[in-house]
Amino acid sequence: MLAAQSLELRKDILSLIKRANGGHTGGCLSSIDILVGLYFHALRIDPAMPRDPGRDRFVMSKGHSAEGLYCVLAKAGFFPALVLEQYGRFDSTLYGHPTMNVPGVEMPTGALGHGLAVGVGMALAAKRDGASYRTFVLMGDGEQAEGSVWEAAMAGSHYGLDNLVGIVDYNGLQISGKVDDVMRLSPLGDRWAAFGWKVVQIDGNDMGQVIGALDSVPAKAGSPTLILARTIKGKGVSFIENQVAWHHKVPTDEQYAQAMRELDTAIASAREARV
């Protein structure tokens, strides 16, 4: 029932953003299926022991999608759902970008281009210590323009970090337009492969494929894995899908009601199909 779960979480995200009157709507909706696959299936974590040394690490390098991460962390039990209501208030621990004050958050992110290098360090330490935890890093496709991503990509394969998994939320859009118009990325899969990563291409909004990819890591012994997840920015709400303007935008009352209706319909059919 993970597909239904991420539809529910889409509702949580929209209500959070609506209540706070601000948020990165498009990128939260494109990446939520990946987060659900991670937190409710792949990651070996215990919300009761968020600092357990043996836990799998997850770094949300695209930290602006914090609203999605917060909703998932609450649902997973890292903190009470009630805390979500504080989002966007000045006395809240939930900032517009994740901080170390939030249980379950491994690194403060939001300045793009930081996550993968940190993931390399975490994975390297596991190799050196013979620890079995794995490290997952979720990046944006616009974020791929940061040079630091590629410095880390080089290091990941150089050190043979097959305990490291990079995931790109390949939604094709950034703030100022289509990623390939702003600063061409394609052929992104070939580029990662050329940097020594085993590339797995999936539809990142298809829960079956997300889980399949996460279950298959390391895709190649001795190499880091890069899951290139094709997604739709704003996925799940018709008028938000694939719209540049919805990178950071709040639905009106009417739009909000329509979004909830669309998601409720989708939830009903997901329940019916038992996915």
Partner: protein
């Protein structure tokens, strides 16, 4: 008081300049809509380069453009302009003696809900450590427009710290501005407030108003330029009033407070001294009003600082 959007002034001034100066080009890193550069890109698409989310690359490219005679204005959030670009700006632009204008937007608490990653408290201190760099923080739309023009005609690197939201007009259109020239906005004999940027200049004016009702006459100086610093005005005002308060929208160390303290101490003048600014803390989230209270940047905090200097 009339307010005008600072980012509109930024784009409009560059569009005007570009009409007669073919060499003006702009660069941006996926934030053109936020900081206003978008309007320039519409007017001059062939002279605008949106390099994607790659700020360090943006400044390196700007340096290259400058080395063949272009006059690049490169903009991004002040947090990234300071931290992410620093090495490229330091070496490829400044050390290379080139002509790059770097614009850092959303200074200090005006980054509001974006929190610590996006809240530039450190950019002034970082930039001040770069030799020969000109550092400006215009306090109003008129001074912003004039200083962009000055920056364009000056050969050398400039860091322009720019609020993008609307700011009150403080000067008549005819007012002229120079690098290293402060503006005394209000005379006073009992204390002097040295302020930088729209937020702090306006708070200082309000503080002086409050103090006046208590019989304390506080001068207010809009510093305009952090570097070069108007040492003459700083020393003269410190000597005349004997009580100095520096007011900046960022860390109260390494930036304005340090520059003013250095100037006063070296001059031999002795004056009481207090700092308004962030005291060794990271950014948080909230409205500008809340954050100003949180970091004690408000008029009432400034007034209290003046009173504390016997």
């Amino acid at each position: 008081m009339e307010k005008r959007e600072m980012r509109a002034v930024y784009a409009q001034t560059l569009i005007e300049l570009a009409k007669t100066n073919e060499d003006i080009v702009i660069l941006d890193a996926d934030l053109m809509h936020a900081n206003g550069a978008f309007a320039f890109a519409k007017a001059y698409p062939e002279r605008s380069f949106n390099v994607g989310v790659a700020e360090a690359n943006m400044v390196g490219v700007a340096a290259g453009l400058s080395s063949v005679g272009k006059i690049p204005f490169a903009s991004t959030f002040g947090s990234f302009a300071g931290r992410r670009d620093y090495d490229q700006f330091f070496i490829s632009a400044n050390y290379a003696r080139l002509n790059v204008k770097l614009v850092g937007t959303d200074p200090g608490v005006t980054a509001k809900y974006n929190g610590g990653t996006h809240m530039p408290f450190e950019d002034l201190a970082l930039m001040r450590a770069i030799p020969k760099l000109v550092i400006l923080e215009p306090s109003d739309p008129v001074s912003l427009g004039k200083l962009i023009r000055k920056s364009a005609s000056y050969y050398g690197c400039v860091y322009l710290r720019m609020q993008r939201s609307p700011a009150s007009v403080l000067y008549p259109e005819s007012e002229e501005f120079e690098f290293g020239r402060a503006k005394v906005l209000r005379e006073g004999s009992d204390a002097v407030l040295f302020a930088l940027g729209s937020v702090m200049v306006n708070e200082s004016l309000a503080a002086a108003e409050t103090l006046a009702t208590e019989g304390i006459r506080a001068a207010v100086v809009d510093m305009v330029s952090l570097k070069p610093l108007d040492v003459e005005t700083v020393v003269a005002q410190a000597g005349k009033t004997g009580r100095v308060v520096t007011c900046e929208n960022g860390q109260a160390s390494g930036g304005l407070s340090s520059a003013v303290a250095e100037a006063i101490l070296e001059s031999g003048v002795r004056a009481g001294f207090a700092r308004i600014g962030v005291k060794d803390e990271f950014g948080e989230v909230g409205t500008v009003e809340y954050l100003m209270e949180r970091y004690a940047l408000r008029a009432q905090d400034i007034a209290a600082a003046v009173r504390s200097l016997a």
